[in-house]
C-alpha cells in the first residue's frame, strides 16, 4: 500500500519541465540533479515533496526527450508513484524500468494536497480527503513483472532475458 499527498500538475508537462537540458552537466550526479526536479513546472516542488508523495498530472505527462533522468529525479525525490490521465511512451517505459509506478487514471477527481492511498495489486486509488475511489488502467504483464522486480536491471538479473507469457 502506497500513502502520501497529491502534488497536482497540468497537461503536457515535458521532460524539460521535469529536468531541463541546462542541468545536463549534473546528470552523473543524481542527488544534485534531483534538487531541480520539476523546477520549470513548480519551482517550490523539490522543497515541498516528502517521501511517499505522488505526482498527479493531466494528459501526456513526460512528453519530449528520452532522458531517463526525468523519471530518475522524480523517484529520487521520494515520489512513490506518478498518476496521470496519459503519459508519453518513453517516459512510461523509463519509469517502470526504474521501479517507479505510473498509473493511468482520471486524475481530475483528485485535488492538490489530497491524501491518497494506492493499492497496486488491486488497481485502486483511494482519495482519503474526498472519499472518492478510482481505478487505474491495467499495466501490461511484461511491465508489471519488471515493476514487481523493482526495475529492469533486477528483472534481467533474475531472469537473464525478457520473458513473455
Amino acid at each position: 500500500m502506497l500513502k502520501g499527498r497529491a502534488f497536482k500538475f497540468g497537461d503536457s508537462i515535458s521532460t524539460d519541465h521535469i529536468i531541463p537540458g541546462r542541468y545536463a552537466h549534473l546528470r552523473s550526479n543524481p542527488p544534485e540533479l534531483a534538487k531541480h526536479v520539476l523546477e520549470d513546472a513548480d519551482p517550490a516542488f523539490a522543497a515541498k515533496v516528502k517521501p511517499g508523495d505522488f505526482v498527479v498530472a493531466g494528459n501526456n505527462f513526460g512528453l519530449g526527450s528520452s532522458r531517463e533522468h526525468a523519471a530518475l529525479v522524480i523517484k529520487m525525490a521520494g515520489v512513490s508513484a506518478v498518476l496521470a490521465k496519459s503519459t508519453a511512451r518513453i517516459f512510461f517505459r523509463n519509469a517502470i524500468n526504474l521501479g517507479l509506478p505510473v498509473l493511468i487514471c482520471d486524475t481530475a477527481k483528485i485535488n492538490a494536497g489530497d491524501e491518497l492511498e494506492i493499492d497496486l495489486s488491486a488497481g485502486t486509488v483511494k482519495d482519503i480527503t474526498n472519499g472518492k475511489e478510482l481505478e487505474f488502467n491495467k499495466i501490461p504483464a511484461v511491465m508489471l513483472a519488471i515493476l514487481n522486480c523493482g526495475g529492469l536491471i533486477p528483472y534481467i538479473k533474475k531472469y537473464g532475458s525478457f520473458k513473455l507469457e
Binding site: 521532460t15 537540458g21 512528453l63 496519459s86 523509463n94 504483464a141 534481467i156 525478457f162
Partner: protein
C-alpha cells in the same frame, strides 16, 4: 489481412506474427546512445552484470549533444563513454562528427532494420524504411547486452500524401501542419506510416525531417517504404548494396487514414511553448526575434544550408538578430564548404558551429536569455528547452528562418525567394 510496415519489419525481426497490439521480442540491428543519455546506460549495463556487448560493431556511442564539451562535468561523461568503448569494443562517434541521427542515416541505417537509440529522435531513421525508436538509458543498456528488446507492436496511422510542395513550403511545414492537426499526443504508442504519390516524390532529406518529428506527436515510429529514392540515397553514400525493398501490404489494416494535399500547404510555424501550437507563418508575421538557429538533426542537411545560403546570398542578417548555423554532420559541413554555402553564410554574418546538436537543448552554443525570442529549425520549443524558462521558441523551416534572419522579425519566406 496484410501487414503494415511496422508489422512487417517487426514480424521479420521477431520471427513471429507481429500484429498490432501484440508484445514481441525483436532482434535489434543497431543500438546507440548519445553523450547525455549514454553515461547512465553505461552504469546500468555495468550494474546488470553483463561484461560483453551482443554486437559491438553495431553498438555506437555518439558525442554530439555537448560537443566539444562546454564544462568538466560533461567532459567526465565523455571520458566515461570512451573508457567503456575501449572495454567492450563499442564504436565511438567523436566530437565533430555530427548528430547521431544524421550519421545513422548517412552510414548505418538500412531498410528493414530495427534500431533503438537512447534519444527520442531515433525515429529519424524511419525515413529509410527502418523501424527506429527512442528508449531510455536502461532499455538501451539491456539492448546492448542482449541484442534484443521487447516491443508492443504499434497500431499504424496512414498519412496519405498527394501533390507537390509549392514554392516556399518544405517537409518541415508538412510535419508541423500534421502535428498541429493531430496534437502532441495524437499518435502516442502508434506508428505514423507515410505514403501516397506525395511521399513517393519526396527527397530523402525531407523524409528525414518528417520522420524526425513524428515523436512530437507521441509516435513510436515514423515510417516510409523503401523505394528508388532510398536506393539512390544509399548508393550516393556508398551503401548501394544495403538496399532492400520494404513496403506495407496493400490490404494492411490501419487504425485510420489521414489525407494531406501538399500542394495546399503554406509555410507553418510552431509557437511557444508546445510543438502542436502551430499556425501559418503569416499569423505571427512581424514578431521580433533575437536569434535564428538553422541546423540540427531536423534541418541541418546540405539542402537546408543550400536553401539558407540562397536566401542570404549577398545580404546580411538583421543587426539585432544573431544567426547560428549548426550543420548536422561532418559530411554536411564539408559538402557545404565545397559548395560555397558556408562562405555565403559567414558573409551574411552567421556564426558557424561545429557539427552537432548546437543550441537545440540549451546546453551551450547559443543559450537564450530571459525574454529572448528564438526562431529555430530544430524540433522542440518547450519552456526552458534552449536556456531561460522565460525565453520564447518558434519552430519553422530553414527558408522561414533565413528570411527572418534578414528582417529581424518572423517573415514569410515566399516574400524573399
Amino acid at each position: 489481412m496484410g501487414k503494415t510496415l511496422a508489422e512487417k519489419i517487426l514480424s521479420q525481426k521477431s520471427q513471429s506474427e507481429a500484429k498490432s497490439g501484440s508484445i514481441i521480442i525483436a532482434r535489434v540491428d543497431l543500438v546507440f546512445v548519445q553523450d547525455t543519455t549514454g553515461p547512465l546506460t553505461v552504469r546500468q549495463f555495468q550494474s546488470s552484470g553483463f561484461k560483453r556487448l551482443a554486437n559491438p560493431t553495431r553498438s555506437v556511442l555518439f558525442m554530439d549533444h555537448a560537443a566539444p564539451s562546454p564544462n568538466y562535468g560533461l567532459s567526465n561523461d565523455h571520458k566515461l563513454l570512451r573508457d567503456f568503448s575501449r572495454q567492450v569494443g563499442a564504436t565511438v562517434s567523436e566530437v565533430g562528427e555530427g548528430v547521431c541521427h544524421q550519421i545513422v542515416a548517412e552510414s548505418l541505417a538500412k531498410p528493414g532494420d530495427v534500431i533503438v537509440g537512447a534519444d527520442s529522435h531515433t525515429v529519424t531513421a524511419g525515413a529509410l524504411g527502418a523501424f527506429a525508436t527512442g528508449m531510455g538509458s536502461t532499455d538501451v543498456a539491456i539492448a546492448l547486452a542482449l541484442g534484443e528488446t521487447w516491443l508492443r507492436v504499434p497500431e499504424s496511422i496512414k498519412v496519405l500524401l498527394s501533390g507537390n510542395f509549392p514554392a516556399g513550403v518544405y517537409g518541415k511545414d508538412l510535419i508541423l501542419y500534421l502535428i498541429g492537426q493531430i496534437g502532441a499526443d495524437g499518435a502516442t504508442y502508434k506508428a505514423l506510416e507515410f505514403g501516397g504519390s506525395g511521399a513517393d516524390n519526396m527527397s530523402m532529406s525531407a523524409r528525414l525531417t518528417i520522420a524526425n518529428m513524428v515523436v512530437e506527436a507521441g509516435a513510436k515510429a515514423g515510417l516510409f517504404a523503401s523505394d528508388k529514392i532510398t536506393q539512390e540515397y544509399l548508393a550516393a553514400q556508398g551503401r548501394g548494396k544495403e538496399y532492400q525493398p520494404v513496403s506495407a501490404d496493400d490490404d494492411a489494416g490501419y487504425e485510420k487514414t489521414t489525407n494531406i494535399d501538399i500542394a495546399r500547404l503554406e509555410p507553418m510555424i510552431a509557437k511557444p511553448h508546445t510543438v502542436d501550437n502551430t499556425a501559418p507563418v503569416t499569423e505571427v508575421r512581424g514578431t521580433k526575434i533575437n536569434q535564428v538557429v538553422i541546423g540540427t538533426c531536423t534541418n541541418g542537411r546540405l539542402d537546408d544550408l543550400a536553401l539558407a545560403a540562397s536566401i542570404l546570398q549577398g545580404k546580411k542578417r538583421h543587426p539585432q538578430t544573431r544567426l547560428i548555423i549548426a550543420p548536422a554532420s561532418r559530411q554536411v559541413m564539408l559538402d557545404s564548404i565545397q559548395a560555397g554555402y558556408i562562405q555565403t553564410l559567414i558573409e551574411a554574418e552567421a556564426v558557424i558551429l561545429p557539427p552537432g546538436c548546437g543550441p537545440c537543448l540549451g546546453l551551450h552554443q547559443g543559450v537564450l536569455g530571459s525574454g529572448e525570442v528564438c526562431l529555430s529549425t530544430s524540433n522542440r520549443n518547450f519552456k526552458g528547452r534552449m536556456g531561460s524558462p522565460e525565453a520564447f521558441i518558434y519552430l519553422a523551416s530553414p527558408a522561414t528562418a533565413a528570411a527572418s534572419a534578414l528582417t529581424g522579425e518572423i517573415t514569410d519566406p515566399r516574400e524573399v525567394i
